[in-house]
Structures are given as structure tokens and as C-alpha cells.
């Protein structure tokens, strides 16, 4: 697995830094990196940080109203953010955010 550091996130000052797992579908925006660093106090901020470093990602993950697209699952470590506060869910340094397309079928 490739690790790539997001240079854009270093300007976020004291905001927590997290690792973001990038699905195959979005790796064109990260130069093929499967994990990138990003920063922000909340999941929403983290996505903003991702967009700054990798333009184009935000529009794939969020819709025109700024809501998470309905076939995108965002996880903070093991928890779906919809079980938390959605995009307002706070993050802590060292956490992992995963972006995963929604698929299911028993």
C-alpha cells in the first residue's frame, strides 16, 4: 500500500491530522495513492483539506448541497459517520477516515 503525504494539510495548524483511505474510484485524484494525510477538526473539514490538496474529490463525495452523496459511505475508524454527527463528527489525530462506495447484498 502506498503512503502519500498531503502537503496541503500541513498549513492546518493545530487541527488533527488523519489518514484517509482512498477507494480505487478516487485514486485518479491522488496520483494513485491509496492512503493520504488530511487535517481538520471534523469530517467535513477533512474533506475540505482533501479538496485543497486533490482538487475534484469533494464533488465526488458530496453533492451540490454539500451533503454526503447517498451512495458514499464515510467511516471514522470503524464507525459509519451517520451513527455519529455526520460531516460534523469530530476527528482526532491518528484516526483513519475511509471512503467506501455503498454496496450490499446478503
Amino acid at each position: 500500500m502506498n503512503d502519500a503525504t498531503d502537503p496541503g494539510s500541513s498549513s492546518a495548524g493545530p487541527a488533527p491530522t488523519v489518514q484517509v483511505r482512498i477507494p480505487t474510484i478516487l485514486r485518479a485524484y491522488t496520483g494513485g495513492a491509496t492512503v493520504v494525510s488530511a487535517s481538520g477538526a471534523t469530517i467535513g473539514d477533512v474533506i475540505g483539506s482533501l479538496e485543497a490538496a486533490h482538487p475534484g474529490i469533494r464533488a465526488r463525495v458530496l453533492d451540490e448541497q454539500g451533503s454526503v452523496r447517498r451512495f458514499v459511505n464515510l467511516y471514522l475508524d470503524d464507525d459509519d459517520i451517520r451513527f455519529g454527527l455526520g460531516l460534523q463528527t469530530p476527528v482526532t489525530t491518528g484516526a483513519t477516515v475511509s471512503i467506501i462506495p455503498a454496496v450490499a447484498g446478503g
Binding site: P23, T24, L26, F71, D80, S98, A102, A104, G105, G106
Partner: protein, 428 residues
């Protein structure tokens, strides 16, 4: 090969040597973005689910003749599926052709006029999952995968392990470690790799997606070949229509886990109308969930068009998907057709299993109990028309979920082996 590519495949199906019959492309259900056939499942534009698009070569009476001359399994509908023309001759489980049973006794008990049970427990591994896996296997072969895999709540585990054994390829199946013992054993018996994971189905589904991104020659039937897999459920709709004499019922009650089955039955009915095989008469689709995992029912009742995930807690484990990917489309179909979605308690599920068994001699797994219980609940509430011809789906065999009813049924009496004891027990 990768599971989802960032850019569309560079060549068309024909040019790349992929033979998936009438399938011509994958298109996004959300935004319509179109890509060539390949191992893709999520739209590169919006993450929406990709769906198979077709150009059907045969229609009307010619298609009907061809279907009726076909084998008594799902491959009679091969002209409508993403499979190669010679699919019936390949090593596969040949699922489908299950019975549509006229349920007069159950209808009478519920005050209904005409009720049918589509009993898909008659499939090779005793659930409807054999249908979808057979189509997924065909696609996996065409797309060059060498391993058949899945995350499962049990029935899919059985179907994948058996289909891989028949096909002579490796299977890797992930299941929740707290799954019913019957479903663990009936998967392990086929000899593939079976991984019991300490987590919920939704945890395992997420894990499967992550594994699929790394294991490039693994076809996770319900992840990276999901667009093809899901099409297999159309055959439930085709069969019901053909078994009714090429016409559509007025009402259907269908269990909802991921929601794909309900959505694809509707797609199948729509195609039959468009292709001139049935009169496109109106029908109402009703979805059935267990209250302990009812995110789609909750969204329906709240009037919402998105589904908020839940943490499942129900004996209906085959329906225990807390984050159902096709939930929004289930809402679309039920609302468009004038149907509804209802949920029932675990106690009602057990009552539903017993009611169907007692009246029709059909022993359903918990999902079937959910469906029968929802049928009864909707009738009692006046939301289902008792005079309209209705089809309910039993999608799995009760032998797979014996634990669910072990507390509720047993011998009428236990006696000594004498006639006196028999008579004294009042059994004559």
C-alpha cells in the same frame, strides 16, 4: 484487472472479447454516466451503482417462443441476462424453475381471494441466491476472475461455495461469526475457504470491499461484479409472470435486505412489458423487513428518500443488512407502484413461519416468516387489497434457521410405546 477503475475501460465489450449476451454497457442509476462492460460497480462521477444496459435482439412472440423452448431453469431467460449464449452448457448450478404454489388455505385464513407463494427454497442450495450467483459466475468467467468470493448473511455463502465447487474454482466466503450454525455448516461442507468474522454483516461488507480493492483476480459476487449478480433476481419476476400464463400479478410482497431483489423483480416486470411478453398491467410492490433491522421501512414511513443505517438486532439474519445499498430504489419502486414497506417483530416472524407451514406445507426460513407476517399485517391494516391477486416470495428454506423456531415448536406429546399411553395422551 482492478475492481473499480478510475477511468472507463478503453474498449467495448465485443472488442475486448467479453461475451455477456445482450448486455452492452454499464450505466449509473444516479447520473446516467455510461462505461463499457467490465469489473466496475460504482460510478466514477457520483459513486452511484452501475447497472447493466441491454440491447435486446429478440422481442415479442419470437422471444416468447425461444424462452418456452429453453431449459427449465433461469437460462431459459438467457436472452434477457448478461450471460453468453452457451451459458446452459457451462458447469453451474442451473438454478431457478422453482414452484409458484397456489396458497388457497393461507388465503382463506387471511381472507384473501387469490394468493400465490413463489417458493425459491427449491433452488439447489435452498435460497434465491443461487440465481444471482449463477449470473455472477458467468460474468466472473467472462471478466477473467479466478476466485469466487462474497461477504454473506448465510444464504449467499451457501450459494457461492456450491457454485465454485461445481465450477471447479476456489471460493472465499466471509460470514458473521454469530451466524446460524446451519448456514455455517452448509457452507463449510463445500470445502472452500470460509472465514467467520467477529463483526456484523455491514462490517464484513466493508471488509470485503477493501479486500476486493487489493485482490485483483477475486470476484466478490455482490461487490465488484454486483451489476451482473443483481440481474439474476430479474428471473424471479420472469418466472412468476410466465407461471401465471404470461401476465403480471396485482400485488407482490417481497423481503428487503439490500433491496436488490425487490428492485430487480420490478425491472424484470418492466422489461417483460416493454418487450411485449406481458400486458403492462399495474402492480403494487410491498417490501417486508424485520423491525430489528428496518431502515428502509423507517425511511418509507418517515417520507424520506434516503436510508439511515441501523445496527441490526433480529432473528431474521438473512435480512440483517443495516446499511442497504438499494434502499433508496426500494423506496422509489414501492412509492411509484402504490405499495408500502412494513416491518414486524421477531415474535411475528416466528408466527409467520408457523402460519405458512401449517396452512401450505411450506417451511420457510426467517425471511419467509418476515414476508408472511408483513402480508398479514398489511392486510389487517387495510393497505393490501384482499381481492387482488397477490404473490409473496419465500426466498429460503426453514431448515437453515431451525434455531429461530426451536423454542416455539416441538412434539405434541412424548409417550411410552404402548397403545394405552397413546390413548391416554388424547392423541386418537
Amino acid at each position: 484487472m482492478t475492481t473499480v477503475l478510475s477511468t472507463p475501460a478503453p474498449t467495448g465489450a465485443a472488442a475486448s472479447g467479453i461475451d455477456l449476451g445482450p448486455a452492452v454497457a454499464l450505466s449509473c442509476r444516479e447520473c446516467g454516466h455510461r462505461v463499457d462492460l467490465g469489473p466496475f460497480y460504482a460510478c466514477t462521477e457520483c459513486f452511484g451503482p452501475l447497472e447493466v444496459s441491454y440491447e435486446f435482439a429478440v422481442r415479442g412472440q419470437a422471444l416468447k417462443n425461444r424462452i418456452e423452448a429453453g431449459p427449465t431453469n433461469i437460462w431459459r431467460y438467457a436472452p434477457l441476462l448478461p450471460v453468453p449464449a452457451g451459458i446452459a452448457e457451462t458447469r453451474n448450478m442451473n438454478p431457478g424453475g422453482t414452484k409458484l404454489i397456489r396458497a388457497d388455505h393461507l388465503a382463506r385464513e387471511l381472507g384473501m381471494k387469490t394468493l400465490w407463494v413463489k417458493d425459491d427454497s427449491g433452488n439447489p442450495t435452498h435460497s434465491f441466491k443461487d440465481r444471482v450467483v449463477a449470473v455472477a459466475l458467468a460474468a466472473a468467467r467472462q471478466l477473467g476472475f479466478s476466485v469466487l468470493a462474497c461477504p454473506s448473511t448465510g444464504n449467499l455463502a451457501n450459494a457461492v461455495a456450491a457454485a465454485a465447487a461445481r465450477a471447479g474454482i476456489r471460493s472465499v466466503v466471509l460470514v458473521p461469526s454469530n451466524l446460524e450454525q446451519q448456514k455455517i455448516l452448509t457452507t463449510a461442507a463445500y470445502g472452500g475457504t470460509l472465514v467467520a468474522v467477529d463483526g456484523s454483516y455491514d462490517d464484513i461488507n466493508r471488509l470485503a470491499g477493501e479486500i476486493a480493492a487489493e485482490q485483483e483476480d477475486w470476484a466478490f459476487v455482490n461487490v465488484n461484479v454486483r451489476p451482473y449478480y443483481a440481474e439474476g433476481s430479474k428471473t424471479l419476476g420472469y418466472e412468476v409472470a410466465e407461471q401465471l400464463g404470461w401476465r403480471l400479478p396485482q400485488q407482490l410482497v417481497i423481503p428487503v435486505a439490500s433491496g436488490a431483489q425487490l428492485v430487480k423483480v420490478d425491472k424484470g416486470f418492466t422489461e417483460l412489458g416493454e418487450l411485449g411478453l406481458v400486458e403492462p398491467t399495474p402492480y403494487r410492490v410491498f417490501g417486508a423487513q424485520a423491525t430489528g433491522c428496518s431502515p428502509v421501512s423507517a425511511a418509507f414511513k418517515a417520507g424520506e428518500d434516503t436510508v439511515r443505517p441501523v445496527r441490526p438486532d433480529t432473528i431474521a439474519k438473512s435480512l440483517a443488512i443495516g446499511n442497504p445499498a438499494d434502499g433508496p430504489y426500494v423506496l422509489d419502486v414501492t412509492r411509484r407502484t402504490g405499495g408500502a414497506i412494513e416491518d414486524v417483530s421477531d415474535e411475528e416472524v416466528v408466527d409467520g413461519i408457523r402460519l405458512l407451514a401449517r396452512t401450505e406445507g411450506i417451511f420457510a426460513e426467517t425471511a419467509g416468516g418476515v414476508t408472511i407476517a408483513v402480508l398479514r399485517k398489511l392486510l389487517a391494516a387495510g393497505r393490501l387489497d384482499p381481492d387482488a391477486e397477490t404473490v409473496v416470495f419465500n426466498t429460503g428454506d426453514g431448515l437453515k434457521t431451525l434455531d429461530a423456531i426451536a423454542h416455539a415448536v416441538g412434539p405434541t406429546a412424548t409417550i411410552a410405546p404402548t397403545l394405552t399411553a397413546f390413548e391416554q395422551a388424547g392423541l386418537a
